[in-house]
Symmetry: C2
């Protein structure tokens, strides 16, 4: 499984992705699920993926290849809406290609994607692309999307993240959301990929990987875990 | 949907159930999902239900009716294991009865149950009964079971509840777990039914309903919500 969260806020975009993949519980691997595409001038895109790994890897490979080979590609499309439609169409093509044989019967080739970024002339935008290739856009009222094992980590997002939350604060919330998910579901795990995109920077380089021995993340985990227990103990009981 | 949690702890059993049912998001009602059966002497049982309401209501009705009409019933079976098997068998019979017609095609008649209680001669025990009618028992290592919309409220249980947690503390944790679920999922809602069973009491009367204007629960909600935000704000950010 997978857990990814992306937020579209007043100051820009925030992305957090785990890297655990599994085909059954006895076949667990680490694969990156955060991908960046940018030319540093007018196109900056970040893609998060969940679902069938063969499908998502093919999508990323062909998106990259087309930037050099095709006239219409991620770096030439004029709007984030067109980028989402372009990726949704490619997703359908790949699933169609891999479905037309006997062996693929009963295998789920679908995937879910989050696409965030900015194209010069527009504000930053965030889309969730469904397995059908259609998509929805985040709004001021609903500034974040999740894919994969999203339920465990949703309560803290619902309590904290709003459109005007600062990017670094939103990142901290995304990491706590991820920590809760990791603690309750063994198909989500470190290392994590994180990225902050600042509006009008057209740079996708503010990113890093958080590994299992990352001192800052360990401190955050510890502080949160101990703080939750302390808070819990301080609250009064309900009578019964 | 539904969210129910039950715990089997050193001092007894704890139960928390919501009361929201829905057939689609436009058909929402309130139905009790916590049912008690006891004779005050040697049999004390609590049943929590999730799933098809027609199925679970039939199960409860027939369980009650058989106590008066049948020789083999909830108040005569010699062990909690036998009780779980008895209820699982009844569940299968009801689903079979309601499946044998044209109209039931494509309708999900299944349900999940939690059965906790004590029969004199045994310690208190807790079972989860699956839609197939088979069942598993809670252990010292895994002292709680959930049914329905369980993921939102699992992280706090994983952090707090252990076998030696006092009953009142476990109840508080169950209520916070419920609050997180209600906040993130509109198919789970108040009023809540709560019950504490103390080992060797053979009484299922320590129970009450928590409604939307319950002062204690509102205080717990408020304290938790504000405490979480304060804790979150105090924690350091991760550098990026």
């Amino acid at each position: 499984m997978t857990y990814c969260v992306a937020m579209r806020l007043a100051d820009g975009l925030v992305f957090v992705a785990d890297s655990r993949t599994n085909a059954g519980v006895d076949n667990i691997s680490t694969f990156r699920k955060l991908f960046t595409f940018g030319n540093g001038r007018d196109h900056a895109l970040v893609l998060l993926s969940a679902g069938n790994l063969a499908t998502t890897q093919s999508i990323v490979e062909l998106l990259r290849r087309r930037i050099n080979e095709a006239e219409e590609n991620l770096m030439t499309l004029p709007s984030m809406y067109d980028e989402a439609a372009y990726i949704g169409k490619l997703m359908r093509e790949i699933i169609d290609r891999d479905t037309h044989n006997q062996q693929s019967q009963g295998v789920d080739l679908s995937c879910n994607l989050l696409l965030g970024g900015q194209i010069r002339g527009e504000a930053p935008r965030l889309f969730q692309i469904y397995p059908q290739g259609n998509f929805i856009e985040a709004s001021i009222e609903t500034p974040y999307f999740q894919i994969g094992e999203f339920k465990y980590g949703k309560p803290i997002l619902d309590r904290i993240v709003q459109y005007d939350t600062p990017l670094e604060t939103a990142l901290k919330c995304g990491l706590i959301s991820m920590d809760s998910t990791i603690k309750s579901n063994l198909t989500v795990d470190l290392p994590l990929d994180i990225l902050i995109y600042e509006t009008n920077s057209f740079s996708v380089s503010r990113t890093r990987q958080i590994s299992a021995d990352d001192e800052e993340f360990l401190q955050l985990r510890k502080g949160w875990g101990e703080g939750i227990k302390k808070l819990f103990n301080e609250l009064p009981q309900c009578s019964l």
